[in-house]
Chain length 350, copies 4
């Protein structure tokens, strides 16, 4: 049995890891770390888990934790993992960081977009970007995995095969994305109150959202060159879900634009065997409800011959494939378990 | 492997049975019956199940179905099950009816509240009311189980121990209940459109809702006499969940009113060993989100010494403990399986 | 032109007063008081009012304010108005307090239910309870009006005529109420985050909510004796609206229970000429959407002959008739204006 | 007093015209036309208007109506207005058609995108496209106004000044839009049920939505040439509101790209005096809640120097500026009234 510690267990992503691991055959949480609820019963915070999880919240002492567990998930704000981690810890346990601390290879880009100093740049190189379907092999041997952002996971996976195959022009990529409100976290902010969010939608972080360089870096690897994109997130009044609608100009090959079957072939080449990626039928587009409470990524596309652009659409549950589910998937890969262990979650709808 | 047929599989309750049984170790659905979608792929209707359920919808021929399966769930409008069932079918398969056809023992009461003629009154006596926690023993040998209504399940379980123990006056019982909109079904009605339901709440079926006689009959058995109650359902803008808030006057024993520990003792007497009933701590009251997507019933209470009344509160997921989950629980009991098989569902929140 | 100052203008109720007064022919806001946003433009907080209100937020100095305006609305937490008010202020301006500070005549009851010391008990006697339809005459000459609570307004008005006429037994009154989330205020609390409230409903303040003694006191005046009731509020996921469902046993007169027409007659006796109270037709029950963004109270009822109880139902917009609208209505009465000035708000639906 | 007839008064847009005209000083509705509710009281359908509108629904006989009113609003599905209208009617009354029948100048484009035959192509030329801020002068003398689509109004107004001034490349325009559910109408369809829409978002009509050619035609006039764009609508779970996020490449002038002040200058040139268009401050982006229940269009933008693209964002209330409000604004212009008559609606939030 793999012993698991969660730092930040009382946030939405941390609690979702706890919930998912209840159904995992080979892992169990032994440390529910929290900053605000130390000493309180975990199920006082998440009443849903009353009678199921009987533990109390502990603090976020990573050193102590490293002696007690096999893997640590840090589901905390940017900066915390980098400030706690060290070589000794990494020698003892595997770390899966759900914050952005180790996602970007260029520390300057990190410090510019996140406006904080990086406290452990020496581990950036070693850290593996945990986008499972793309980096599976590297994840296997990793000590430190940087779990991708929610928008990022959805945005990258939706465009990856077409970028990789050179079917679309990287310079034309525009990602327009919608997110449910759990993406904003569980902190007490006026902006996230029910009555501020309900019955409205809004763009935010326009041309400045922190997931932008992450998408650019990873898709840039696929493109084989530096990419600069537009990414616009929007907040919509629902608990969970991310929908990314992405636009790019198709690139002519042998004098003609790729058609729908060329595009489908590219998707199938990369995702045909992926259990968590569902390529939808022609004319079917993703809806966040179809992936809700699962680890699935649903992908659809429309080839618009009028404009020569492809519209790619992807949907995930932001707390699962966009956070906790992918983190568990990374754990499974790191520990040599069946990648789907604990993750055969059937979407719940409605 | 128990072979399962679902009549009405494309309604919310029917589809939920299908979804739950995907996680059941000893049962599998082999017949997805539908009236409106015959010949269509089931996952065209519920895109959430794309790549998971690959079957097409079949019709609702119960005779044919009886030859192919071990158990039939009828998740259909009132009257259909009674119009299809017969002795030959019941000799071949077990039937769990999610409609009201066999819930009320007095056919006149049925016809008066449902305004339809009962087509198979000869099976009413035999049918067992499938409120698992109360009628477990009778369900074991049953051929035909009448699965309780959603409001009913919640309302009865919340009050049952106090009625049974004589702690409250049956004549004073008032049940005020809130329901999510899946309770209204998946039919195309203006009244259930998003914009008619969203941002509003309303009472309906005031003093005339069909679950009233069902609650009265079952609680009447516990009281040992005929009961007449007030039951007021309200529609609230959420997908799932029922919350029942119930009021009753406490009854003096030996010259004094029962106190909170007397009340808790009564609940524990009946539910202490029940895995799906969670008695909440003092001062904690149920919230529908805490039971969402699980088979749990959460129960809390407040003894109001100022008024001499007890306020009992219960919450369920109307599609699970209020429909599909309880139906599967009944199946488990009828087939001698572990009662929790397929039902260890951890509530998802948010 | 009546000059208006609002203390607490950046809360939901305060901002709603500001919004309503934009359409008032004889009053204008000249002071937008705030604790958290002093110096900021009001429309930075409520973007809806961009280009409409160009003022900056000022502080909550009531002494200074008293020299500048004709009427002060205090839309602030309990205790603030009582701590600021004095004879000098009341000699200069009229005060309409939306907090509970002057609603309860018995200071001990206030201190017991609100758990704070009352700082200005000397004004309690003078203060007039501003339930316009009941206390219109007293409000006319008042210097200090205690604007009723949202639940209270709805609960009292729904039951008042039947209590007053002796048609129901006061000891049997049970008020079960649902509220939208604006009722919880605009403070940054985890419990009111979108994802904590959405897709759920819950009871709270069971047998202990602070509006209970307020309802009891006012209905007690109508009953001509002390009343003790059960009041259970519930939070439902919508922005606005209160729905009260109330139960009471009918009282026999001359050996028979009142029938529906007796009941309707009582309602018409008190509300027949009230422009803001709409008695719904038989069989029609209130829905919060029908009163949303108006000053209306919609009232319906059902006489349940089976149980001998009457079910009374009322709905209001909690921010309007339950707060800002009634406050303006009180202002109109106090200043001898047309009572409907600024309040001819047509409900918006959907 | 202008006498108004509404055909389709029981749909969301029709009812919103009725509601708005209640506050109009110089117009009154005398005919509430309906297909499904003939003979029923209008306030039975919209309970919000109980005690305010006491009329019954009449049929949709446009000939008869033409004798009784000064202006007819047709808020009906595509095809109906074209099938009813004739020269005689237009000689008697002005017609404002909220359907798409007269929006597109090329009847072939209409028939191709709408898949129906146009029954009155002879009036297409005469019809004026009622986008008030752009076509005010032509609307003045019109007999027949084609009221723009909801997505269209928002999409066009958001991009218009930059297209008109040649600041952006028309070939690069991409419109990604979100809509509340009232946009889907009040018909009884499973797809629009609360539980099918709630807690989800989805793209639809990808590269095929009928508002596409309308946007292309109108913006094409501004560009001075044919345009082909990408337009992707999404459904989000809220009652009202459209948010358009639009992307285009900036065009160099004199060797350099326009900067933010160039862009703001262009917006101010066209909208500086427009009372219903609010140009937001730098760094502020529209949110649908800020325009809800008003006739405003809120517009913001972000100049992304990294990509050389401008992101333009606009928000409207789809039922008001996107339908009923603009229709009334057109009526005001056609009849020489103050353009804002009845439309000084303050946004309500929350």
């Amino acid at each position: 049995m793999i012993r698991v510690g969660i730092i930040g267990a009382t946030g939405y992503a941390g609690a979702e890891i706890a919930r998912i691991l209840l159904g995992h055959p080979e892992a169990e949480v032994v440390w529910y770390g929290s900053k605000s609820y130390v000493g309180e019963e975990f199920s006082n915070v998440f009443g849903s888990l009353f009678s199921i999880i009987n533990d109390k919240c502990l603090d976020d002492n990573m050193e102590e934790l490293a002696d007690k567990v096999d893997v640590i998930f840090t589901a905390t704000p940017q900066g915390l993992c980098a400030s706690l981690i060290n070589e000794e810890i990494l020698n003892k346990v595997k770390v899966i960081d759900l914050s952005a601390d180790f996602r970007l290879k260029d520390v300057k880009v990190y410090e510019e977009w996140y406006k904080i100093e990086h406290k452990a740049p020496e581990f950036i190189d070693e850290a593996v970007y945990g986008l499972c379907e793309i980096n599976r092999d590297k994840i296997k041997g990793a000590r430190l995995v940087a779990n991708p952002g929610c928008y990022t996971t959805c945005s990258i996976l939706t465009a990856y095969p077409l970028i990789k195959e050179g079917l679309i022009d990287p310079d034309t990529l525009i990602v327009d994305a919608l997110s449910g409100v759990t993406g904003a976290g569980r902190g007490a902010k006026v902006a996230n109150l029910f009555c501020e969010v309900n019955e409205s939608c809004k763009p935010y972080g326009v041309a400045s959202h922190r997931h932008t360089p992450e998408i650019e870096e990873q898709l840039g690897y696929a493109a084989g060159r530096k990419m600069v994109i537009n990414f616009t997130p929007h907040l919509v009044p629902m608990n969970r879900g991310i929908l990314a609608t992405e636009y790019a100009s198709l690139v002519k090959k042998d004098g003609k634009l790729p058609d729908s079957s060329d595009i489908r072939r590219a998707y199938e080449k990369y995702y045909g065997d992926e259990i968590f990626i569902r390529l939808l039928k022609d004319g079917v587009y993703p809806e966040t409800r179809w992936v809700q409470s699962s680890n699935f990524v649903d992908i659809g596309f429309k080839n618009d011959e009028r404009t020569g652009r492809i519209i790619m659409m992807g949907a995930i549950d932001n707390l699962i494939k966009g956070a906790a589910g992918q983190a568990v998937q990374n754990m499974n890969i790191m520990f040599g378990l069946n990648e789907t262990a604990g993750l055969k979650l059937v979407p719940k709808c409605p």
